[in-house]
């Protein structure tokens, strides 16, 4: 069930109606049933469900066992408060902690193991095969990759790590945990939610209220607008451009900008729909985007784009690695031997390198993604190293606060990120380097005026729609950037009227139905 399919919309409407009709106590169980039904429709053999239930059960028991350790240790410490010395207490605490650590480790290895085996087995086989002679090549294995496994596995791991860290108690009701793992709007493409963020609203009893419905609906329609009017329209041109290497030189530049626009509309649109659906159900999800294309540098970009993934990697991989014993030792050693300046950075960069390698790998089992991740690392590192230079520059020329300089920085960041993203597009890494290279060596500006752009599978009318949609999206984003919100809540007439207009625009100008293939959201694949 694609978000854009009539089936899904019917499913959603039925679910929302039921949700507000059933006794309030039955609301979250209904969501669980709905989520499992949604997942079952994605694969009617039921294999997907088996995977997600396995993950849920493992996290449930790991959580409960850690809860028990906690209860036992606090009871023990309380009972023996008088008799235990400080050292005894410390030793006892350490013992308990290592017990929890063992539980955590088993659970993480199990779940990351499932993820790795399903997603990366064939990648490993292919890589091994490049070293083998033809006769001894390994056969790829037909592997089930459950939809959204990268998302729900990460979400579940985050949950179990937070229980270990004592951020919150484990969920004692297995069905409630199952809902957290499988909540259908975010199952396929995130956001990767934290249990502590969702728990408050996920299991609560929700009364129907106007602002939830109207704001949720606005969000959903805005998402459909971006997905159906822009992403599913421009995709034809992007596919044409990237599937034929004859489209080199300036065409690559066009493909780069088109893909940047497509991915933005596809991914943020999908997340808008997700957050909007949750909102209609009275559930608050963390934002996953904060106007990413207004970022002035790549670091800021990663604070604004796919935020829940970024913070996940920071909290659960970057920090633990950085503050681990060996890393602290390395940091100390390098500062002693390489000098304060360089030494300070060695460990940070090493952790960062690991994070970006994993981020790339998480996006897909292909070298393209790994190189994409590493490119991000390289750019971040370079810009970090250039910072003193920038500071000098800004000390000399007072442009930092000038509006045009801000625009320049924004455009620069968009170009840089879009260029790195070309690794998504081309078949393999060498080809990407080659094609992106031609962008600079084979400049051919004629294609903008001689009608070549009309041969990419989209018509003049499509271009008009894309330009208008671009202006609308840019305006809305600019308003939001400047004042933090788009609509004044009191102006409901304006809000509802715009909602109606949006609906008509989607129906008429959406790229769906005959002549268009219904396309998956790009992030469904990860």
């Amino acid at each position: 069930m694609l978000f854009t399919s009539a089936k899904f919309i019917a499913f959603l409407i039925a679910l929302v109606f039921l949700y507000y009709l059933v006794p309030k106590k039955a609301q979250w169980p209904l969501l669980l049933i709905g989520s499992y039904a949604f997942y079952y429709f994605a694969d009617t053999s039921g294999m997907y469900l088996i995977f997600i239930i396995t993950t849920t059960i493992s996290a449930y028991f790991a959580g409960i066992m850690m809860n028990k350790v906690n209860d036992k240790s606090s009871a023990y410490l309380k009972a023996n408060k008088e008799t235990l010395s400080k050292e005894d207490k410390k030793a006892y605490k350490a013992k308990m902690k290592s017990k929890k650590w063992a539980i955590l480790l088993v659970c993480l290895i199990f779940n990351i193991g499932i993820l790795s085996v399903t997603k990366y087995t064939n990648f490993v086989i292919n890589n091994i095969n490049t070293f083998l002679s033809d006769a001894s090549k390994l056969q790829p294995i037909a592997m089930i990759v459950p939809m959204g496994i990268s998302f729900y596995t990460f979400q579940t791991c985050g949950y179990i790590i937070d229980v270990y860290r004592g951020k919150h108690d484990a969920q004692r009701n297995p069905f409630k945990l199952a809902l957290f793992v499988s909540f259908f709007p975010q199952l396929v493409q995130g956001p990767i939610s934290r249990y502590s963020d969702m728990e408050a609203s996920l299991y609560k009893e929700h009364k129907l209220n106007e602002s939830d419905i109207s704001e949720g609906l606005t969000r959903i329609l805005w998402g459909y607008f971006k997905k159906l009017v822009v992403a599913d329209r421009i995709i034809t041109a992007v596919t044409t451009l990237i599937s034929d290497t004859a489209y080199s030189g300036t065409y690559v530049f066009v493909a780069m900008l088109f893909y940047a626009f497509e991915l933005y509309c596809d991914f943020t649109g999908g997340i808008d729909i997700t957050i909007g659906i949750a909102r209609i159900l009275g559930i608050t999800l963390k934002e996953n985007f904060n106007l990413p294309y207004f970022s002035k540098n790549i670091k800021e970009y990663w604070n604004r784009w796919h935020i829940t993934m970024g913070t996940w990697f920071t909290d659960y991989i970057f920090y633990p690695i950085s503050v681990s014993g060996p890393m602290l030792k390395l940091s100390k050693w390098s500062r002693e031997h390489l000098g304060q300046n360089i030494g300070k950075r060695v460990s940070v960069y090493l952790s960062s390198l690991i994070v970006w390698f994993t981020t790339g790998l998480w996006h897909g089992a292909a070298w393209n993604f790994i190189v994409w991740g590493l490119m991000n690392f390289v750019v971040i590192m370079i810009s970090q190293e250039l910072e003193p230079l920038y500071a000098k520059f800004h000390g000399k020329f007072k442009v930092k606060d000038k509006a045009w300089y801000g625009v320049f920085e924004i455009v620069r960041t968009i170009f840089l990120m879009s260029m790195i993203r070309m690794f998504d597009c081309y078949r393999d890494v060498p080809l990407t380097f080659k094609m992106v290279g031609t962008m600079f060596t084979r400049v051919n500006l004629k294609i903008f005026v001689d009608g070549s752009l009309l041969n990419l599978g989209i018509t003049k009318a499509d271009y008009i729609i894309l330009v208008v949609a671009f202006i609308i999206i840019l305006s809305v984003s600019t308003i939001k950037y400047n004042r933090g919100f788009v609509f004044n809540k009191d102006k409901y007439l304006l809000r509802y009227s715009l909602l109606a207009v949006l609906f008509v625009l989607i129906i008429v100008f959406g790229a769906y139905g005959v002549g268009y293939d219904s396309t998956q959201f790009i992030y469904n694949q990860f």
């Binding site: 920090y319 503050v323 300070k344």
Partner: protein, 76 residues
């Protein structure tokens, strides 16, 4: 406390760490800074700030961070 302020000021000379209480929330320090701080604190005070303590509340101000260090020292 002075030693901590010195560590912080070395990272961001332009910030007044005595008064600022939104270091993380306002994105004045980022994850790279936090890791640098932790490794220097480790040397200066000989405490390891574990990953679970890396939350905005502990890093939003020099004061909060100092309190964390004291607490960790205490547990040692």
């Amino acid at each position: 406390m002075d030693a901590l302020i010195e560590i912080l000021t070395n990272l961001h000379p332009e910030v007044d760490f005595d008064t600022c209480e939104t270091l993380v929330d306002d994105k004045i320090i980022d994850s790279f800074d936090i890791v640098s701080i932790i490794s220097e604190v480790n040397e200066e005070y000989d405490v390891v700030i574990p990953a679970e303590e890396i939350i905005p509340e502990n890093f939003n101000s020099a004061k909060a961070l100092y309190a964390l260090i004291k607490k960790l020292e205490d547990e040692e």
